[in-house]
Amino acid sequence: MSSIKVFARSLDWIVVASVAVLMAIGVMFIYSSGMTSDGQLVSTEYAKQIVWALSGLGLMLAAALIDPKRLPEYVSILYVGILVVLVYTRIFGRVVNGARSWLGFGDLGIQPSEFMKIATILFLSRYLEESAHERHSFRRFAISLGIVAIPMLLILSQPDFGTALVFLPVYLGMAFMADVSPRYLWFLILTASIVGVLTVMPLWQTLIAADTSVALRMFYEAPYVYYVLVAAVLGFGLSVLGYRLFKKRYYYWMAYVALVVIIGLGASMLGRKVLKEYQVMRLVVFLDPSVDPLGSGWNILQSITAIGSGGFSGKGFLQGTQSHYRYLPQQSTDFIFSIISEELGFIGGIVVFSLFMLVSVRLILASRTVNSPFQRGVLAGMFSMVLFHFMVNAGMAMGIMPITGIPLLFLSYGGSSLWAACIGLGLSLGISARRYES
C-alpha cells in the first residue's frame, strides 16, 4: 500500500497533466472539425477519440507501474513479435491512403508501425546498454543502426514515408545519449541530408527555384552524376590508399567525405527512381505552395490561411471559417493544429507548444539522475520521438516543413498513435518515478 503511495508521490504529475490537457484539446477540436458551417455535426470521430484518450491515459498509468529494471527481459520478444506483425501487415494488411499499413479486425484497425516505434526504442536501448563497453566501435554503430533500419525500411515499403522518417531522429537521439562515436553520427546526418536534398532537387529546380543553377545539375542529371560518382569513388580509393601508406590523419577525413558523397549520391538516385513525382512534390511544395495550388499545395495554402486568419486570440471555438467550410483537408488528423490555431489564435498555439515542451524537456531532465543506461536510452528515444512528431506536424501546418502525414501526438484523431505514445510515455514516467530508488 505504502509503495503505491510512494509511487504516486514520485510520479511526474506535471507530465501526466500536460498530456491530459493536450488530449482534451484534441477531443475539442476533433469535435470542431466534425462540424459543418451551419452547425451540424457530421462526424462522430470525437466520441471515438474520447474513448481512445481515456483508455490511453489508463494505459499510460499502467505502463508507469511496470518496473523498468525488469523491462529488458521482454524487449527482444516485443521487438521481434511486432516486427513479425509488421511483415504480416506489409503483405496482407489493409491499404489506407495508399499505404499497406493497417491490420483490420472488422471495423477496428490498428497501425502496427506506431507500436513498432516504441518496441524499437526499447530494443535499441537494451543493445546500446549491452554494448556500452565498446562504445566508440564501428560495430556498435552498425548493429544499432541495423536495429532501427529493419523496421524503418519495412515501413518505408508500405509506403509510409512519414512514420519511417521518425526512426531517424529517434536513433540519433538515443545513439548520442549512449555515446556512439560522433563521427559516425555525423556521417549519418550528412549522408541523410545529401540524400534528402538531392532526391527533391530536380523537381525543386524545375518548379520552385527562381533561376536554376547549372552547376547543381551535375548532382542529379545523367550522365554528369555518374562522372561525379566515379570521381568520388576514385577519391575514396586514393584516400584509403594514402591512409594505408602514410597514416596521415587527413587521408582518413578525405575518405570520410568521399564516402558520404558516394552513398548520398547513390541513395538519392535510388530515391528518385522509387518515389513517384507526386510524392516528391509533397516534400518540396512547402517551399512554394503556389506552384501546385490545387494539388499538394492546396493543403498548405489552406492551412496557412487558417492559421494566419486566427490572429492573436482566434475566431473562437467552433467559429473557424476555413475549417467549417471544409477548405481545410484532414482537419482531425494531419492538420488539427491548423484548426486549433484558427479558433484559439496565437494564445492557443503557444499553449500547445508549451505543453509539448514541458513534456519533452521534463523527460530529458529526468535522465540526469537515472543510473541505468537502458533507462536513459528509453528517455532519450521518447524525447526525440515526441519532439520530432511535434516539429514535423506543427511545422507542416505552418508551411515550414514538408508534408509527411505524421500525426500530432495526443491531439490528432486516431487510436494507434495515441496508444503507442501513451505506452511509451508511461514507461518513461515509470523510469523517472523510480530514479531515486536504489
Partner: protein, 624 residues
C-alpha cells in the same frame, strides 16, 4: 569528457544541455514563426480567408475515335451530352423537397433515385454529386431557362460515346462505363480518378490509355461559401483529346461475314495471314454497345448476362471447341514431315476399325472409303486412315508436338481482353487429372481432333495461316495504327510480329497446300465450296457434341490457292454451333465470304451468285 577512466554516473551535463537546447530552439523558432503568421501577417490572411478561394471544375476530354482500316469510315464517334450535378448544401432546407421533385420530373428520373444519390447525410455537403451522366441538350436548355428554380443544380459537358456500328462490331469495340471501385484500386497510380470513364470491354478496354485523353481543368474564384466571385476564363487548362485509332477491320468484309453467319450461333474470322491483320471477326449472338451505355444500361447488361445464348461472349476468341476434322491439316503436315507413311502407301478403309475389342466407325460407315493414300484420306476426311497412322507410326507425342507448333494450347496474343488458350491434352495430363492411363482410344480421338482437344476459331485461322505462310504465324491483331485526332497523321502503327515459327520444310508445306486444294476439287467440300471467282483450299470439320444428330460445323480455308503475291491471300474460318442439319452451314458461309470478298460483292449478291440466297433450308445435310 574523457574516453578513459570509469564511466560517469548519470550523463554528462553537456549532453543534456544539447537535448534541452534543441527543444528550446524548436520552441523559439516555431513560436516566433507562429507570431509572424498570426500577428504580423494575420490581417492579410483574415481577408483571404473570407474573400476568395479557388475551385476547380473538370473539363472532360473527348475520347479518341475509332475508324476502319482505311481511316475513312468511322465506327465510333462522340456525341454531345451533359452530366447533371447537384451541390446539396446550396439547396435551402425548406426548398429541398420541391427542388428534388421538380428535378425528378425534368430529367425523368424516379424521385427515389435522387434520394438514393443524395441521402440526408449529404445534405450539408459542398461537393457536387453527379445525378445523371447522360442528359440531352434540350433538357439542359429547359433547365437553363428556369435555373433560378433549381438552386444547387448545374451541369457540365460530358461527351458520350456513339457507336455507329453495332451488332458484330460490338464484340470487337466493346463499350465504356464509369470506372468501378475495383478497377480504381488497380489503375489509381496511372492517373484514373473516381467518376472517370474507362473502357470496360473489347478494344475500348484494351486501348483505353490511347483513347482516353487528358481531362482539362477550369479554375474559378469563389468566396468562402462557394459562390462565384468573378467569372473568369483565363485559368483554363484545356482538355487534350485522346488519340484516334484505325482498325484492321474491313467494314465490307465484316458486314459480309456477319450476314453470311446469319442468326446462327457461331463465329467467322477473316484473317490476312501475311501480316496477322484481322479483316473481319463476327460472333453470334451479339449485343448493342449503345444499349449498354444508354440510360438503364445496367438492366440491358443484366439481361445479356442471363441470356442462355451468352451474347456477351465473343465466340471467335473466348469459346473453345474440338477442331474436329480441320485438325487433319496438322496431322497431314506432321505425317509428311516425319515421313510416318509413304505418300503413295494406301490404307484400306472398310468403314470401321477394331481396336482393343472396341469397334470405331469412320464417319462414312460401311462399306467405307476403300483404299486411300494420304491425299485421298485428307480429301475424303477418312478417319480410319488417320487412326491407323496415328497409332502405328505417328504417335501421340508427335500429335501433341505438332499441335503446339501450330499454336494450339497457347494464347494467340490478339489485342482483345479475355481470349481463351484452348487446350492440348497429353498422356501426362490425363494421368494427373483422371489417374487413368492414356489409351489408344484417346490417341484415336486426338488424331481426328475430338476428345479433350479444344481450340478457339481464331486458333484454327492461325493454323491455316501457318500453312499459307509456310511455317510462320504472325500475331493476329485489330489495331492498325494510332492517329493524331486533329491531323490524322499516323503516330504509330502495328508491325507484324512473329508468334510461332515452325521447322517444317518448304516441300512439306507445298504438298499440304496441294492436298488442301484437293479437298475442294475432289473431296468432301466439292459442292459447297464451288466458286468461279477464286480458287479455295481448305478443310471441313464436324465435331460431335455428345448429342445424337448434333454437330459443330467447321470450315477453314484460304484463297486464292494459286496466289502469286502472299499479300493477296486471306484465311477464312467459320464455326457454327450446329443443332440441326440446317446449320451445317460453315462451308457455305465460308464460300459466300470468299465470293463476296474477291468479287467485291455484298452478301446478297454473293449468295445469289452462288445460289445460296433463301436456300438455306435446302442445303445438303451432314457431310464431313
Amino acid at each position: 569528457m574523457s574516453d578513459f577512466g570509469p564511466r560517469p554516473q548519470g550523463v554528462p551535463p553537456l549532453r543534456i544541455a544539447v537535448f534541452v537546447s534543441m527543444a528550446a530552439a524548436v520552441f523559439l523558432w516555431y513560436a516566433s514563426y507562429l507570431l509572424y503568421l498570426q500577428l504580423i501577417k494575420g490581417s492579410e490572411y483574415s481577408v483571404r480567408a473570407v474573400s476568395i478561394s479557388r475551385q476547380v471544375e473538370k473539363l472532360p476530354a473527348q475520347r479518341g475515335e475509332i475508324y476502319d482500316r482505311n481511316y475513312s469510315i468511322p465506327f465510333v464517334l462522340n456525341a454531345d451530352s451533359f452530366a447533371l450535378t447537384v451541390v446539396p448544401a446550396e439547396i435551402p432546407a425548406d426548398l429541398r423537397d420541391t427542388v428534388f421533385a421538380k428535378l425528378a420530373a425534368l430529367i425523368d428520373l424516379p424521385l427515389d433515385e435522387i434520394h438514393r444519390k443524395i441521402p440526408p447525410s449529404h445534405y450539408r455537403l459542398f461537393q457536387s454529386i453527379e445525378i445523371l451522366s447522360s442528359v440531352e441538350q434540350d433538357v439542359i436548355n429547359r433547365l437553363a431557362e428556369r435555373i433560378d428554380e433549381f438552386p444547387g443544380v448545374s451541369w457540365y459537358s460530358r461527351p458520350k460515346r456513339n457507336y455507329l456500328e453495332t451488332g458484330s462490331f460490338s464484340h470487337l469495340i466493346g463499350y465504356v462505363g464509369e470506372i468501378s471501385k475495383d478497377d480504381l484500386k488497380i489503375f489509381y497510380n496511372r492517373g484514373y480518378q473516381t467518376g472517370d470513364i474507362i473502357g470496360k470491354s473489347g478494344l475500348e478496354r484494351q486501348y483505353d490509355e490511347i483513347l482516353r485523353g487528358k481531362d482539362g481543368r477550369q479554375f474559378r474564384v469563389v468566396d468562402v461559401k462557394g459562390r462565384r466571385v468573378e467569372p473568369t476564363s483565363r485559368d483554363v487548362e484545356p482538355p487534350v483529346m485522346g488519340r484516334n485509332i484505325s482498325l484492321t477491320i474491313d467494314r465490307n468484309a465484316q458486314l459480309l461475314a456477319e450476314k453470311a453467319l446469319g442468326e446462327r450461333n457461331g463465329s467467322i474470322v477473316v484473317l490476312k495471314p501475311a501480316t496477322g491483320e484481322i479483316l473481319a471477326m463476327v460472333s453470334y449472338p451479339n449485343f448493342n454497345s449503345n444499349a449498354i451505355i444508354a440510360r438503364g444500361g445496367n438492366n440491358e447488361y443484366a439481361r445479356l448476362l442471363e441470356d442462355p445464348g451468352n451474347p456477351l461472349i465473343n465466340r471467335a476468341i473466348q469459346s473453345s471447341y474440338p477442331p474436329a476434322s480441320t485438325f487433319k491439316t496438322i496431322m497431314t503436315t506432321g505425317i509428311i514431315e516425319e515421313k510416318a507413311m509413304a505418300l503413295d502407301a494406301r490404307i484400306l478403309c472398310t468403314g470401321e476399325i477394331e481396336v482393343g475389342g472396341r469397334v470405331s466407325r469412320c464417319w462414312i460407315r460401311k462399306p467405307g472409303h476403300g483404299r486411300l493414300d494420304l491425299a485421298g484420306a485428307l480429301a475424303q476426311s477418312c478417319d480410319v486412315y488417320f487412326w491407323e497412322v496415328a497409332m502405328d507410326s505417328f504417335g501421340v507425342e508427335n500429335i501433341v508436338d505438332y499441335s503446339r507448333q501450330f499454336g494450339f494450347g497457347s494464347a494467340t496474343g490478339i489485342d482483345l481482353p479475355g481470349e481463351t488458350e484452348g487446350f492440348v491434352p497429353t498422356p501426362q495430363w490425363k494421368e494427373r487429372r483422371f489417374h487413368e492411363r492414356w489409351f489408344d482410344g484417346d490417341t484415336m480421338n486426338l488424331a481426328i481432333g475430338q476428345g479433350f482437344l479444344l481450340v478457339s476459331p481464331l486458333q484454327v485461322a492461325d493454323m491455316m495461316a501457318m500453312v499459307v505462310n509456310e511455317g510462320v504465324i504472325y500475331r493476329p491483331h485489330l489495331l492498325k495504327d494510332v492517329r493524331d485526332p486533329a491531323t490524322g497523321t499516323i503516330l504509330s502503327r502495328t508491325v507484324p510480329e512473329v508468334l510461332h515459327s515452325s521447322r517444317v520444310s518448304p516441300e512439306t508445306w507445298k504438298l499440304v497446300k496441294e492436298y488442301l486444294r484437293g479437298v475442294i476439287t475432289e473431296g468432301t467440300a466439292r459442292y459447297p465450296l464451288s466458286n468461279k471467282v477464286v480458287s479455295i483450299a481448305g478443310k471441313t470439320g464436324t465435331a460431335e457434341v455428345g448429342l445424337e444428330d448434333r454437330w459443330h460445323s467447321w470450315f477453314v480455308g484460304f484463297g486464292p490457292a494459286d496466289a502469286e503475291d502472299p499479300d493477296d491471300v486471306i484465311v477464312v474460318v467459320s464455326m457454327i454451333e450446329a443443332s440441326n442439319p440446317w446449320e451445317w452451314w460453315a462451308p457455305y458461309a465460308t464460300n459466300i465470304v470468299f465470293q463476296g470478298y474477291f468479287a467485291g460483292q455484298t452478301f446478297e449478291e454473293a449468295a445469289g451468285e452462288l445460289g445460296l440466297l433463301n436456300k438455306s433450308t435446302g442445303v445438303v445435310g451432314r457431310m464431313e
